[in-house]
Subunit: 247 residues, 2 copies
DNA sequence: CGTTAATTTGAGACCATTCAATTTCGGTGG
DNA sequence: CCACCGAAATTGAATGGTCTCAAATTAACG
């Protein structure tokens, strides 16, 4: 059945961004790809690399990061199954950051040429692809705000809200319980904090009964108060109304 | 002559992202638009608004910002003439942030429908448009790094490097002297610092002979040391090799 | 020139960092 | 199954970069 096709989650995701005809869906499912496995901490893309494939996350979690000359690291996004980790590399010549696995991952590497061909073959498909990269960008903007203007508690709360909501949208987890295998050090590098302060801030959120966070999973105990603590407004995820009326 | 057409800078910019045929160039120049003027501090786009035009900056400077519930502000990008300030609104239904003018601006408001039509009419045009939004996103990623992991001196130096280089690329200014009408408060909101600390950091950069910054212009006195101070690597701007070889 | 915005200066407080040490946890081999 | 190991999480105390609050000075503009 079609649902068991490795790329069918991609069809489902893109359908939310543009109305895909059966033949569009078929074209997507017919994309060539090579299946690869990647170990925890393994690299999917390296900064500065010429890239000829885009990587779709089938199972597992990944993150993108940039290293500074002084050795510091900033994580610029986390990725969950069914997401591309580097769709921008379909057009940009050189990777401007690295992508690494948070957990063991299964991925589909799709040749950029094939992606561009399928984009050129259907207006709706390319609108969906473009929309995906635009939502990516919107999330980056919100991250600028997060690390730029929120204090440690709000920063971490906001990040957890985002991940919980994105995981919810793909139907991973229930009752506020989600698999999210992240270390406190990675959380620190995503929020621009130190691991020590991240630890103290997490204890604070736990003490207040907002969350429960282990090395493997995140449980949201009180969504409303976590959302308030994180100054969270989901508009930037553009999930309710991805593409607006075109007049 | 063609060069005097208001949209010709757009053709020049997009030519760097994809090879535009004469008919492509013509299609772009034939885009419908309404010319508008905007005063300093005036809004071009408001957060939460439904948008039906994309705004191209003909003259003047603008910035994008997000406001937090507590009243704090984060500026997420600055824009210079020939750039779109909101090309993503061609596809996203609702503006997730505001755009405001740094100086009096002349803009061309182009209907999203017309932009999408011209994109659909030519593979090269749509690749150029998509590339522009992807470079936008790359800059946002670098800003996450900037506010997340650099200290105040490096943050400001990095931002000034970026603006100087982008202004240089469009041929604005010479000898390291560029028009850039920004206040220290805006610089502070762009770097996630307070105005007071921004002021002290600027004095520090001036004292070391790296820059000269007035309310109207930026002069880079020592590019190499400013670049080092800002931990700046221009790769993320994707100007040398925007679109790579497509195999 | 007067008036307001923007920049500059000073001093004290605080949030987050640094540096180290300790404890807990997850996985592995005996 | 348990002892062991390294990684991750936790704790403590001191330092420091940045913030806050105010006031003074300078620049911009009509």
């Amino acid at each position: 059945m079609i649902e068991s096709h490795p790329l069918s989650p991609l069809v489902r995701r893109w359908s939310k961004y543009a109305p895909l005809s059966p033949s569009d869906a078929n074209a997507i499912l017919s994309l060539p790809y090579s299946r690869k496995n990647c170990t925890k901490d393994g690299y999917l893309v390296r900064d500065g690399q010429q890239v000829s494939d885009c990587t779709l996350l089938l199972t597992g979690f990944a993150f993108r990061q940039k290293l500074l000359r002084n050795g510091a690291r900033q994580i610029i996004s986390f990725h969950i199954p069914t997401e591309f980790v580097d769709l921008q590399n379909g057009l940009l010549a050189v990777a401007d950051h690295s992508v690494q696995c948070l957990s063991p991952c299964e991925v589909a590497a799709i040749p950029r040429r094939a992606l561009l061909d399928v984009a050129n073959s259907s207006p709706d498909i390319r609108m969906a692809m473009w929309t995906e990269t635009l939502i990516d960008a919107s999330i980056f903007r919100e991250w600028v705000v997060n690390v730029g203007r929120r204090d440690s508690r709000a920063r971490i709360a906001h990040l957890l809200c985002e991940m919980a909501l994105r995981l919810e949208k793909i139907g991973a987890g229930s009752d506020g319980l989600f698999e999210f295998p992240v270390t406190q050090e990675q959380l620190a590098d995503a929020t621009g904090l130190t691991p020590v302060h991240t630890n103290r801030t997490l204890q604070n959120l736990r003490k207040d009964g907002l969350i429960q966070l282990t090395a493997k999973s995140l449980k949201v105990l009180d969504w409303d108060r976590l959302r308030d603590a994180g100054d969270f407004d989901e508009l930037y995820l553009h999930q309710s109304v991805a593409t607006g009326p075109v007049n």
